[in-house]
Structures are given as structure tokens and as C-alpha cells.
């Protein structure tokens, strides 16, 4: 099956090419057919390939396909080749499968949009770039995909570019992730300089021989790569772009800013796990960033009123869980959480998109309400998604993955009670805001009359996603309850097993605490938001609490902080510098070039005699040089 590997990214690329070239001339049905069809076929191939991979895993642990040798010069050879091992298999399946569902959903969702072809072209290009990212077997190609998804994200956030806020959001996302990317490319150069190869298996094999554990160079490289991951995955301190990125259409938020692109950082760290294992400091940093992010973003999610911003903060928070898991060395748990999260978060975004669409582009949850009866399908699927997010025990996928992370946050080698405590608080918060979301949007009285209800093309993907949001959890049970661990067995072909601390309390205790905490969160939400709670009213009177709320609402005021710390001083410095050295330097370079241009242009005066003089000067120069040497 590995001979067809190239088709998986090639089909979306083909779709992109056709749509961008001929998009204006095609009918809407054809555009939808090409746009969604290419991804669907690609998903089918991905599933078949995965099936064959699972049935008879290759001896080397990976399918590899060399498409062509780009060039060989000296000792640097660059191949364009694809790779599918257990880790990338998970990502490929998620990208193509969820991608396909989202594309089908988009057919109806974007039906009325003017730039139908542009939308599908960009989405196809995104899928292609994302697949390149996860299938690349050298870091050059991976970086190409990495930049590609960044570009598509930029294009799609600013999809409705007529509104200034939208392209401002796009710019913000681009610039902030660029900070991380720059650090990452420095890391890649450093890596190449040290190891002399960019071929991923070689790197993983060579690194332990080259570096001793905890060496400065490897720590630096790991931290630089981590910065790239932080930027792309919207972790502290580069998280501020993601809530604004919700300016894009809902399917975009579902695909790029929930299920796939934002987890590229997780993929990068998991892919480079050997480097991180060699650097305990980088691991600790990863874990701390994850834990703090999940808590901070969770708090912000509690108080948001825009339905998509709630989900955005929740995404940041859930990716925080993944980073935490990576940081403590629970590799398979991180990937498992990515796996379940992709389903239920995509589901939530798509369902939210349907709600917003039906309510005439209303984003504020407090202007919704009472939609339970009107939109039953949306209601049930949304509830399933929210339940998974809240980690409702045993029936939802979110429970299984989050439970693992909580357990490892304490018990894995890199774990620590503080990390566990933060994660636990996060779990409580998550359960709370999930409940709040459901109650406010679907219960209570109707505040906006719904318009045209979503059709089958939109609801069927929701139902499928809802099914998986429940079902995928069952392939990996906590091992003290039932011995089903299909997922970790698979992933551990590519990733190391988690090293545990010795002398641990019983796992069941932790599971019990986790269950209790999330149920408590749900109960709190129920108490505060079911009906008009007295308590909530009283809180709203209190200034202090409202200030706290405002602080959280603004995402812990990170934007303002950056504005104060970075933008203002920078503007200030540039303001001073306006007539000063560094500014002058650049204009001076430009002006010097233009000035030289003017001087040299004089030499082109059209006079033949001057041209002959030029020849004479040339020969004089040559002969004089000879006399001097």
C-alpha cells in the first residue's frame, strides 16, 4: 500500500490547483465536488493504508516513499520523501478523516459565500500542507509544510477580508506564530550544524550518541524547537493570537484552529522526542508551560460570552494538557488526548457554527438560549461534544484521555503534585464552562428567533463526529479497569513508553478524584446557570468580582501586557529613533543604492566615445594590475 502514499497529500494539492486556476469558471456544485471530493478520496486512501499498516506493520516500523531526489551536492542531499509510521498515522487519519467531514459540512455552510472556490482552494491547500508537515521524513520538507499551514491559516482567518478586524486578526496570527517559527528555524540550523543531517530517523538515532543528557547544546536546540511548537500551538506566552483567529469561518476554526494545525506543536515535540528526552530542562519547561496555559486559558474560557471565543480558549487549554503530558514524558497520553480532542472539538466548532448560522450570525451566548427544542440534532451533538470536553466519566472519549494525563502528571517520572493540582483545577474549570455553555445556549428562554435550520449536509458530519466523540475513548481504557490499550500499543511503536516513579499510591484513587472533580464542575455550572441563580446575581453586583471577571475575560490581559511591555516600548524606541541611527542605517542603505544608481546611470550616457573610454579604462586597469603584481 505504501506506493500510494503520495496520493494522500497529492490529491488535495490537485484540488487546490484546479480550484485556484479554474475556480471562477466552475459551477458551485463542481467546486464543492472537487474541494470535498479530493479530501474524501484522500481520506479513503489514508484509511486503507492505515489498515494495511495495522494488519502487517512493516519491519522498519514505517512506510517510506521517496518521491524524488531533489538534489545531491557535496555532502548535503535533499530527498522529497514521505513517511508513515505509527505517530504520523494517527495524525494522517485525523487530518484526512476530520478534514473530509469538515469539507462536507462546508459545502452547505459556505453555500451562500461569494468566494466559494477560494475557500475550498485554501482549505485543500491547507490539508495538503498539513499532510506534508506530518508525513515529511526530513526537516526541510517538514518546515515547508509548517510554513504552508501558517500561510493557509493566514489566508483563511482573513477570509472575509472586507472587515478590517478580520485581516488584523490574520496579521496578528501570522506575526505571533512567526516569532516561534524564527526560533524554530534557528533550532533547525543548529541541529543541522551539530548532526549534519536533517533526515528525521538519522537525527533520532544520532542525537543520543552525539549529546550527553542535559548538555547545553541539546537543551538550547530543544528549547528553540519548543518555541516553534509554542507559537503554532498557541501556548503561553504566544497564545494571544488564537482567540482572535476565530474571525475566520467556523469550519476553518474547526479544522485549523482546533483539530489539526494548532496541534502541530504537539506533533513536533513528539516527533523529536529523543531530543527532548536528552534535555530534562526542556521537558520541565514544556510541562510547566502546558500546566500554566491550561489553567490560565481555562479561566478565560469561563467568562467569555462569544461562543467561539469560549471554544478557542478551551482549545488552548486542552492543548495545554497535551503539552503537560509531553512534558512529563507521557507521550502516548498526549497523542491520545490529541486524538480524542480532535473529534469533540471539531464537533463543538461545527455545531457552534450551525447555531451561529441559524441565529443570523449571533455570537453572544447570552443572546441565544432555548434552542433545545428548535434544533434537536444540534443540541444532542453539541451536548455530547461538551460532555466529552467536560470529561464525563466512562461514556465520553474526553474522560479516557484526560484521566490518563491527570494520572501521569503525578506519577510519571517528570510529574509533580503541583502540575497535577493545576491540571485538576483545569478539569474542574473545563467541566464548569462546558456546562455553562450548554445551559446558556440551549436552555432558558429563546432570545433570538432562529432562521433557516441546517440541512443534512451539515448535520450528518455532526452526528458522525458525535459518535466518534463517544466511541474512540473505548479503544484505550485505564489499565486498572480493563485491559484494552489498542492506542498506546500502536503509538508506542514510534514513541517511548512512559517511565513511572516508584512507590505510588493506587491509581484508582486518582481516578476517583478526577471523576469527582469533573462532576463537581458540572454541578457548579448547573447550580449557577440553571435558571436565574441568586448567587450569580449577587456576584454580578460585586465590583471586585466583576474586575476579576473582566481581567479573565480579556484573556488575563496578555494583549495589554504585550502592548505595554513590547509594542509601546518598541514604538517608543522607534519614535526616538525616527531621526536616529538604526532607522537612518536602513534608509541610508536604500538611499546609497539609489544614489549609486544615479551615478552609474550617468555612465550610460549613450556616447560611443565614452564607451570606448570605458574599454580603455578596463585595459589600463588590467595592465596596471599586472605591473603592480
Amino acid at each position: 500500500m505504501q506506493h500510494y502514499l503520495y496520493l494522500i497529500p497529492a490529491l488535495p494539492l490537485l484540488g487546490f490547483l484546479v480550484l485556484s486556476m479554474a475556480g471562477k469558471r466552475l459551477s458551485r456544485n463542481l467546486i464543492a465536488g472537487i474541494g470535498a471530493g479530493s479530501i474524501c478520496v484522500s481520506a479513503l486512501i489514508a484509511l486503507i493504508t492505515s489498515a494495511s499498516f495495522l494488519q502487517s506493520p512493516p519491519a522498519t516500523g514505517a512506510y517510506r516513499q521517496v518521491l524524488w531526489h531533489w538534489f545531491v551536492t557535496g555532502h548535503l542531499s535533499a530527498d522529497v520523501s514521505l513517511r508513515m509510521d505509527a505517530l504520523s498515522l494517527v495524525f494522517i487519519c485525523i487530518i484526512t478523516f476530520i478534514g473530509a467531514l469538515i469539507h462536507i459540512y462546508s459545502i452547505a455552510f459556505m453555500r451562500e459565500d461569494r468566494d466559494y472556490a477560494r475557500f475550498f482552494a485554501s482549505m485543500n491547500l491547507f490539508v495538503c500542507a498539513m499532510l506534508t508537515l506530518v508525513m515529511a521524513d526530513n526537516l526541510v520538507l517538514m518546515y515547508l509544510g509548517w510554513e504552508g499551514v501558517g500561510l493557509c491559516s493566514y489566508l483563511l482567518i482573513g477570509f472575509w477580508y472586507e472587515t478590517p478586524a478580520n485581516y488584523r486578526a490574520a496579521n496578528k496570527a501570522f506575526v505571533i506564530t512567526r516569532i516561534g517559527d524564527t526560533a524554530m528555524i534557528i533550532g533547525l540550523f543548529l541541529l543541522f550544524k551539530e548532526l549534519g543531517t536533517l533526515y528525521i530517523p538519522d537525527i533520532l538515532a544520532k542525537a543520543p550518541q552525539q549529546f550527553s543528557s542535559g548538555a547545553h547544546t541539546i537543551t538550547l536546540i530543544a528549547l528553540l524547537l519548543l518555541s516553534g511548537g509554542i507559537g503554532k500551538s498557541a501556548q503561553l506566552p504566544l497564545q494571544t493570537w488564537l482567540p482572535d483567529a476565530m474571525a475566520g469561518p467556523s469550519p476553518v476554526s474547526a479544522l485549523i484552529h482546533a483539530a489539526t494545525m494548532v496541534t502541530a506543536g504537539v506533533y513536533l515535540i513528539a516527533r523529536m522526542h529523543t531530543l527532548f528526552e536528552l534535555s530534562p530542562i526542556a521537558m520541565q519547561v514544556t510541562a510547566i508551560i502546558g500546566a500554566v496555559t491550561l489553567f490560565i486559558a481555562g479561566c478565560s474560557a469561563m467568562v467569555q460570552t462569544d461562543i467561539k471565543r469560549i471554544l478557542a480558549y478551551s482549545t488552548i487549554s486542552q492543548i495545554g494538557y497535551m503539552f503537560l503530558a509531553l512534558g512529563v514524558g507521557a507521550w502516548s497520553a498526549a497523542i491520545f488526548h490529541f486524538f480524542t480532542h480532535a473529534f469533540f472539538k471539531a464537533l463543538l466548532f461545527l455545531a457552534a457554527g450551525a447555531v451561529i448560522e441559524t441565529l443570523h450570525h449571533e455570537h453572544d451566548i447570552f443572546k441565544m438560549g432555548g434552542l433545545r427544542k428548535k434544533m434537536p440534532v444540534i443540541f444532542y451533538t453539541f451536548t455530547i461534544g461538551a460532555a466529552a470536553l467536560a470529561a464525563l466519566p466512562l461514556v465520553t472519549a474526553g474522560f479516557f484521555s484526560k484521566d490518563q494525563i491527570l494520572w501521569y502528571a503525578w506519577s510519571a517520572n517528570g510529574g509533580h503534585p503541583v502540575l497535577w493540582a493545576l491540571a485538576l483545577m483545569g478539569a474542574f474549570i473545563t467541566a464548569f464552562y462546558s456546562t455553562r455553555l450548554i445551559l446558556v445556549v440551549f436552555w432558558g428562554e429563546m432570545k433570538t428567533t432562529p432562521g433557516h435550520l441546517p440541512g443534512n449536509a451539515m448535520t450528518i458530519p455532526l452526528v458522525i463526529l458525535a459518535f466518534f466523540s463517544v466511541a474512540v475513548g473505548w479503544i484505550e481504557w485505564p489499565h486498572n479497569i480493563m485491559h484494552v490499550s489498542l492506542f498506546s500499543e500502536l503509538v508506542q511503536q514510534a514513541l517511548p513508553t512512559t517511565i513511572m516513579k516508584g512507590d505510588l499510591p493506587h491509581e484508582i484513587v486518582f481516578q476517583f478524584i478526577a471523576v469527582v472533580v469533573s462532576l463537581l464542575g458540572i454541578y457548579t455550572g448547573y447550580v449557577l446557570y440553571y435558571g436565574q441563580s441568586e448567587l450569580l446575581m449577587r456576584w454580578k453586583q460585586s465590583d471586585g468580582l466583576m474586575n476579576v471577571r473582566h481581567f479573565l475575560y480579556k484573556g488575563w490581559k496578555f494583549d495589554q501586557l504585550y502592548d505595554m511591555l513590547l509594542v509601546r516600548p518598541f514604538m517608543f524606541i522607534t519614535g526616538i529613533n525616527k531621526s536616529d541611527v538604526s532607522d537612518k542605517l536602513y534608509t541610508a542603505i536604500a538611499n546609497a543604492n539609489l544614489y549609486l544608481n544615479r551615478i552609474f546611470s550617468v555612465s550610460q550616457n549613450g556616447s560611443l566615445r565614452w564607451y570606448v573610454t570605458g574599454v580603455l579604462i578596463g585595459i589600463l586597469f588590467i595592465i596596471t594590475l599586472q605591473l603592480l603584481l
Binding site: S601, Q604, N605, G606, L608, R609, T613, L616
Partner: protein, 102 residues
Amino acid sequence: MSTLHAHTVLIVAAILFVLGLAGVLTRKNIIFMLLSIEIMLNAAGLAFVAAGSRWQQPDGQVMYLFILAMAAAEVSVALALVLQIQHQHKTLDVEELKELKD
């Protein structure tokens, strides 16, 4: 009567060559520029003939013959161009040919 040295001949050739070059540089009339170029080519021919007789080989004279042929071909095209220039610009002043410039 002293024997002739190779570099004596070469200096004569160099003088003729540089005189031709000076002619190209100083004259403004295209006819004179072309004449000066002929002088330069001839000087190079002299150097070749001298080299040929220094090594007692016919190659120098063969090359001289080819220089002659090339000069003839070049002059014929050049004079055709001179006719066109006189026809179009009504002058042979090279400084008038300045329409192509930056």
C-alpha cells in the same frame, strides 16, 4: 647592423595599436573611427606576422590573411551602416548617436 629583436617589432606594433586606439577615442567622425580601427587591426596583424617569422612558421601569415578577411567583412557592414546613418541623421558625428541611453 644589429640583429632585430622580437620586442622591437612588438613595440612598433604596440605604438601603431595605441595610435589607432587614440584615433578611435579622439575623432568624432565615424569614418575616422573606422579608419582607426583598421589601423589597430593592422597593428595586430603586424604582431602576428612578426611572431610567425620569429618561430619560422607559416601560421602567423595564415592568421594575417584571416584578419584581412575579417576586416573586409567588417568594413563592408560598417560602411553600409555609415550610409544608413548619413541617410537618417544627415551627419556622421558620433555624438549625435545618443538616442539610446539611460
